[in-house]
Symmetry: C2
Subunit: 221 residues, 2 copies
């Protein structure tokens, strides 16, 4: 491969500028466009068809994982490198299931970063450190370093929460009580209780803490 065309998607202008400066130090990599959320990323990718999309997970409008899932549905020749700027490796499984070709943590050095980009661009996979071996073997059946993107059925909301339940969930996670939730949605407190009860049941959790963890784990909000 001669020149690698990259699209950057991150809601931090600073981070984008930074990665851009860092990446273009190297000959052979060019940032051809940018986006500040998942939706924008989809547009930009559809126009530019880059070799690699570098995308952050947490962004407004549409998160990085969902964007990667979409892109893998639509384009077979756009590789995706997911960046987790904030948290640990908690999204790695979802990233892979969404069809990401690489996953990097915030702790990544400049060197690791460039390695990841070039590897992914040439049809390989790059998953940060220890994760790589373990996860790849478990989730994708042994096709590391091939040009074939893993065809894993994207699981979207394995808990089948209803719209109202998701709504209640997000309010519960804002630590609001049933009374406040009820007022906000203009329903009775008892109804709010029921929705809360039902969603706790569906998620198989028995308190706020577990709920919060599970919701985060499965990116339900």
């Amino acid at each position: 491969m001669d020149i690698i065309n990259v699209v950057l998607a991150d809601d931090h202008v600073l981070v984008r500028d930074g990665i851009k400066a860092l990446i273009e130090d190297q000959t052979g990599i060019v940032v051809i466009d940018e986006a500040s959320n998942g939706k924008e990323a989809l547009e930009v990718v559809s126009i530019n068809k880059p070799h690699v999309l570098i995308i952050d997970i947490r962004m407004p409008e549409m998160n990085g994982i969902d964007a990667v899932r979409e892109i893998n549905k639509l384009y077979t020749d756009v590789r995706t490198l997911v960046l987790s700027m904030h948290d640990s490796e908690e999204y790695v499984v979802q990233a892979i299931q969404a069809g990401a070709d690489g996953y990097l943590l915030k702790g990544a050095s400049k060197e690791e970063f460039l390695k990841a980009v070039t590897k992914v661009a040439s049809g390989g996979k790059y998953f940060t450190g220890d994760v790589s071996a373990i996860i790849m073997n478990n989730f994708v059946n042994g096709n590391t370093n091939t040009a074939v993107a893993p065809k894993v059925v994207p699981k979207e909301d394995p808990f089948k929460l209803t719209k109202r339940e998701k709504q209640i969930l997000s309010l519960v996670l804002e630590l609001k009580n049933n009374k406040d939730i009820a007022d906000e949605l203009k329903i009775s407190k008892r109804t709010a209780e029921v929705h809360r009860f039902n969603l706790m049941k569906k998620l198989e959790v028995k308190n706020l803490m577990e709920l919060s963890h599970k919701a985060k784990e499965f990116r339900l909000v």
Copy 2:
């Protein structure tokens, strides 16, 4: 001023690399050292005495605000530019009270970033956008653009929480209930209740949501 010596403190290597690349594009600014947390920042500053310390708020070991407070106690000729990579303007007041000379949000452009660094380096103040005028007038008595760092009494824990209460607070904020907290600290559930009750009173909040907000606002954990 001829050359501006800068120390970067951020726990994201990537962000550090990025800012470095971005900043050194410009002639006249040199990153002479880096740190990945507040404690390290203190050490590095004591050794290098840079003109400007660019420091992120959220870091392990010691956060950026506390580090700035320390630096303002120890050195009168080191300017500090606080970066809020994650959140809005919620820390601006604390940053000023800690003696920060500048405050930038994640949304800052490359241009604004460089402007802030040069301004702060030359003894001026740079606070992001609209915040600037309002806050500076209210908190520091009219000394914008002077070389004198604002002498505001640093308020440390205005609520006078006891050690145990802070401990309980952090567990409460992990959404643990009194039973679990009690078990974890090997005290009775009733004792946990009392601590919780007392700290809610001291913070003048009446539910988890308000507690969570207030704790964040005053960086109590």
